[in-house]
Amino acid sequence: MFNQGGLSLEQAPPISVVLRFFVTASIFGILLGIFLIVDGLGLSSSLTGNKSVLITHILALGVMASFMLGSLFQMLPVIAGVVIAMPTQKATVVHLLFVVGLFIQLYAFADSSIPLLYFLASAYLGIGLLYALYLMLKELIQIKDHSSSSKGMIFSLVSFLLTIILGIYLLLSLGGYLDGLLFLRVKEIHYSFALFGWISLLIISVSFQVIEMFYVTPKYPIWMSTYLTMGIFTLLFFKSMAIFMAFEFQFITVILTVLFMLYAGTTIHRLYRRKRPTSDATVWFWRLGMGLFITSMLITLLDVFTEINLEVKMFSYLAFIGFVLSIIFAMTYKIVPFLTWFHLSNQGYIEAPMMHDIVHPKTVKKHFYIHGTMLISFGFSLFFDLIFFDLLSAVLLLLSFGWLLYNLIFAIKKYHYTQKYTERFEW
């Protein structure tokens, strides 16, 4: 669905390759909601001890990595212009290893008394994710004429590669298979590459292409689209070196946060300069996401210069999560209707439903309201120690991912219904 290499019928992976990861992500989101409800905890009280690690990995791997894998299986063959042979089989291998590995990892975090679980988690997750990265990076580095997006994706995926390798070290240390002398430093680098490298760089790279194309906006400044992702990756590398050698690195944090805020501000500005400004909830998601990104980075920046209390720091993490989820929802509600229509249309179904028939804009707006209310509720739960906000936040989280899953299932059913009951046209 992206313009550089084009989406030909041969290159487009089957729709099931993408949707299996999106459905998986929604289910993990629902499971997280259930976990928070059952546990009777909100964000404020759960971000301590193993629970915080548990929640972080359900979100980062279960939700975010699942969406990322699905999106990349779709986008990379297009951007690279090279076909990933047998995408269904390869996606199935990655998906199985990933899901099994993640469940084992979560179980290990919940019950840390069984060392073997850490080993199995690192093996399943490691092999699954490294295999996916191999498939993707292999195609990406072969591109001769890189766009700002394809280049940024390489930096993002290399960051993800480092995140995984460091994660394996952490898991094996927790299981007692390694001495773990560098555990705390590696953990900090692991989080740094995951949040600022893999996730943020991926969103930035994708936005360079989709913001202009989806919403007909002016282009990003050339210096930004050309150098930003490389600059951020380089800074992250130096920051990691500094952490590893126990050097001072706060000045790098300052530059990073300023760059991220500059990017997010530019994106909001671009969205306000759309040539055809229509009421579109995916734009709301983008604006909200970028606003939250600025909020999170601003708090991180202030934290360098002044003492910030725990609640505000937690609010910064919440804003970052809100930023990522907002962009995920914005992208999903563009990708799913398009792919459903595109595949059906090119299979020759005359009555292929249009994008609005697959996911109606009002449906997306409803999700935006649920998502926004959820974030506000989580915000209140940080500052007011009331069980009401904890439970409300958890219920809204459950509702948010339940709503997304419902829309995905609706699209899948529409796809199969059209294939089964409508006339095919040979043209």
């Binding site: 290499g5 084009g6 194309m213 007909v216 055809r276 229509t278 249309s345 249009m354 043209w427």
Partner: protein, 83 residues
């Protein structure tokens, strides 16, 4: 000769693709699609080629892409180009 004109310069993705495929599916041998766009519509061109259509793509000095597509090979698209 029936000209089907489609100005996609301010259309949001994937409206240009949707609209142009709609026209191609019902195109007669006497018609051709003339589309203006701000980027080269690679997916459309690949689909058109796969389905046996003929196309001509030219970018003018204002960086606007002119895309002409017909079903009939006897239509001389280069003569219909308005650059």
């Amino acid at each position: 000769m029936d000209k089907i004109f489609l100005d996609a310069r301010e259309m949001e993705h994937p409206e240009p693709l949707q609209s142009s495929l709609f026209h191609l599916k019902s195109m007669s041998d006497e018609a051709y699609l003339y589309m203006l766009n701000i980027r080269k519509p690679v997916p459309l061109l690949e689909i058109a080629k796969e389905k046996g259509f003929f196309s001509l793509v030219v970018q003018d000095s204002n960086e606007i892409w002119h895309i002409l597509i017909s079903k009939n090979s006897e239509i001389r698209l280069e003569e219909l180009l308005d650059v």
